[in-house]
């Protein structure tokens, strides 16, 4: 199943993981300590986040550290930008139309 950024950030636990990793890189165990959920549940979230490249892993000695990949999160902004651009255009058109109606009446 293909993962995407939107799916990843749709979940509150995953958003919390991202917030933590945005502050500092962490090992899976250190991450799991922040949550009441089982380690298994947390590693599943980590896997999803990794699959959609929101976080990356790096081996340091015997430990694996997870890093937040902020570049990927920008996709969300881009999408919202498209949505915004469309509505801006549409509303400007409505402004013009309303003005035309007004002028016709006066």
């Amino acid at each position: 199943m293909r993962r995407d950024v939107f799916q990843a950030i749709a979940d509150p636990t995953r958003r919390a993981i991202l917030s933590l990793l945005a502050l500092q890189a962490m090992t899976p165990n250190a991450l799991a300590d922040h949550f009441d959920s089982s380690r298994q549940a947390i590693s599943k979230h980590i896997r999803i986040l990794t699959e959609c490249q929101l976080i990356t892993q790096q081996q340091t000695g015997r430990e694996i550290y997870y890093y937040f990949n902020s570049k990927k999160l920008k996709e969300v902004d881009k999408w919202l930008e498209q949505f915004r651009a469309m509505w801006d255009t549409r509303f400007t058109q409505l402004d013009t139309l309303l003005k035309t109606i007004k002028n016709k009446k006066s």
Binding site: Q82, R84, R90, D95
Partner: protein, 164 residues
């Protein structure tokens, strides 16, 4: 003409998008622009797309059936099934993709719509809330948007998201 600021927000669950905007006209006029087909056709599709109403039955349980036509002649058919209507105040409905006969396209998710109109002195504030049935649906719409690429931002996307 001074362009008014549009406020966009998204709820945390990623299932809702909200758009707020004020228009420099009395509420009755703004209401008409959002609910009468001959007016909707003039602004609903972001240029260079054009909206064309096939049929409009603006009442609770009624339907607006229209298509958006692109500069290359591509047509995307859409329909809005109106659920609630309070004249000059609000309307809500369900928006879906369909074929040229109005048959729902089940492969593409639809979305719920709610538009609330409020008079603010001589102007009118409109709040639009778009609700997706699930995050999955939102994702699907989003993925489609991405596939079409940014060059076609005003093309596919209006059809995908934008259509009312």
């Amino acid at each position: 003409m001074l362009t008014k600021e549009t406020i966009y927000s998204k709820d945390a669950s990623n299932k809702k998008l909200k758009v707020e905007r004020e228009f420099d006209a009395p509420i009755e006029q703004v209401w008409k622009a959002w609910t009468q087909p001959e007016l909707l056709d003039q602004w609903w599709a972001p240029k260079p797309w054009k909206a064309n109403t096939k049929s409009m039955d603006f009442r609770e349980g009624g339907r607006w059936f229209y298509y958006m036509e692109g500069p290359d002649g591509t047509r995307h058919y859409c329909k809005v099934d109106y659920k609630t209507i309070v004249p000059n105040q609000s309307f809500s409905g369900f928006d879906g993709f369909c074929d040229e006969h109005g048959e729902t396209n089940t492969e593409l998710p639809g979305m719920g719509w709610k538009c609330v109109f409020t008079a603010v002195d001589a102007t009118t504030r409109v709040e639009v809330e778009v609700t997706f049935a699930s995050e999955e649906d939102l994702n699907k719409i989003v993925e489609m948007g991405f596939k079409e690429g940014f060059a076609a931002a005003h093309a596919n996307l209006d059809e995908l998201l934008a259509k009312k």
